[in-house]
Amino acid sequence: MKIDTLFRHTREAFRSLTRNTWMTFAASSAVAVTLLIFGFFLVFAFNISYMATELDKQVAVRAFFQPNVTDDDIDQVIAQIKKDPAVAKVKFVSKEDGLRQMKENWGDDESFFRGLEKGNPLPDGLVIQAKDPQKTKALSDSLDKYSQISDKSYGEGVTNNILGISEWVRNAVFIFGLGLAILAAFLISNTIKLTIFARRREIEIMRLVGASNWFIRWPFFIEGSIIGVLGAIIPTAVTLVSYNAVLGILNADGAYSLFKLLPMWPLSMYVAGITTILGILIGVWGSMISVRRFLKV
């Protein structure tokens, strides 16, 4: 397309957007509501998948040795486990390390453990990470063959629960969002219909003098996309501002640091980008509906 033509189409699109101010407003509002819900969902989905991978990283098998094992036994078991191709990392946690960690976790109530250094009741242990976090259970089962290991555990269920919830939310939002998107596209198609109606003489003459179908269609597609972009601005801003606020609250209160959320950047870029693209898609979709019906050759 020639640059002249592009300017002309854009000018036409803006002209009719400003001529039908109220319809433009209604259509972009519909897009805005759709995208607001979508934006929150997007932030949610990004964070859920982030949390899931973070948790996956933390998922590990904790194995504890029998109280009577020798250092040689321990070295031997570690060497054996390291040979397993499914194992990513093996870390030895001595009973002293274990006690120190426990004290840290209990914070102020540390006094409770004082004096335990002498007769430390904790066993020596290992922290073993699988290459594929999903295979942690299999890895844990494979430890049964070591008689030197008395007990083991892993964070079963946590990851699965998180993924399960996020999938459920995703489906619900998808169905709801699809309904809203259809409504928004319908409103856009009505706005475009008004434009087509207002320009039916122009269109008639364009066709008469041999304007190509695409020449006739373009302004309507641009009009639809502009409605989509207009409808994307507010939800993007609202989503990001509220997310920023949530981040502020969570970071201010260390107690919640359990929830590790994604930082504003680059999340804000993704949300703005995806929301805008979706707005444009809904806009073009809406204009296609009415253009197809009205410009049949």
């Binding site: 122009e202 008639e204 364009m206 003098v209 190509s212």
Partner: protein, 228 residues
């Protein structure tokens, strides 16, 4: 060249508008299409610029079978056919200049070529001085001349007119006819449906008379032949 072979047109509501038309119009001819109201003149015209498709038969424009042309290619077919109507069909919020330029923009003519060509056309139709007037500020005859300038601005090989003088007084009608004759003299084929007895009988050209969808008469230097 326009050729019709055994062309029939039945509208969706069952009206048989054309019933077996055979005709050949050569390059640079000037043809009047006459006949009573409802005879099928407008339908005949519409088939030529593919506003309507024939129900049966073949229409060739410069050898191209218009029935076979794909929908998306029709605009390119139309670029070689200028069309003029009884009611001018000008855009009311555009000046004479803009109305003519619009036809060039619509076919994506580069901007720098538009100005000169539009002025040239307005000069041809004698409206160079009124190029900034809106249609509402122009007389019927002037509006029709703008519409002819628009039809001719992309330099089509055919000019097709459906009762172009139907709304005009005799003086303005003659202005339009001299203009069409001039355009024809420059090599454009002109086909014009008309009810104007005086014009047909004075400016003698080929006359094709249509009645009830069939050609009943086809004469060079013909007469109008009806009493209305």
């Amino acid at each position: 060249m326009i050729e019709m072979h055994d062309v029939y047109k039945v509208y969706g509501n069952g009206v048989k508008a054309l019933n077996g038309i055979n005709v050949k119009i050569d390059q640079s001819e000037f043809v009047y299409v006459v006949g009573p109201s409802g005879a099928g003149k407008s339908t005949f015209i519409k088939l030529m610029y593919r506003e309507e498709k024939p129900t049966h038969g073949v229409i060739l424009i410069n050898g191209v079978n218009v029935k076979r042309v794909r929908n998306w290619k029709i605009p390119y077919l139309r670029r070689n056919i200028g069309v003029v109507f009884q009611d001018y069909k000008l855009l009311p919020n555009m000046t004479a200049y803009e109305n003519v330029a619009f036809a060039m923009e619509a076919v994506e003519t580069p901007h720098r070529k538009i100005r000169r060509r539009v002025q040239e056309m307005l000069e041809l139709v004698g409206l160079y001085d009124r190029m900034n007037a809106l249609p509402s500020q122009l007389s019927g005859g002037e509006q029709q001349r703008v519409s002819i300038a628009r039809a001719m601005v992309n330099n089509p090989g055919f000019l097709i007119a459906d009762e172009p003088t139907g709304n005009l007084d005799p003086e303005n009608s003659w202005d339009i006819m001299y203009l069409l004759e001039e355009i024809n003299a420059r090599g454009t084929t002109v086909v014009m449906a008309t009810h104007n007895k005086e014009i047909v009988n004075t400016m003698r050209k080929r006359v094709i008379a249509v009645e009830q969808g069939v050609i009943v008469r086809d004469e060079q230097q013909g007469e109008y032949g009806y009493e209305d």
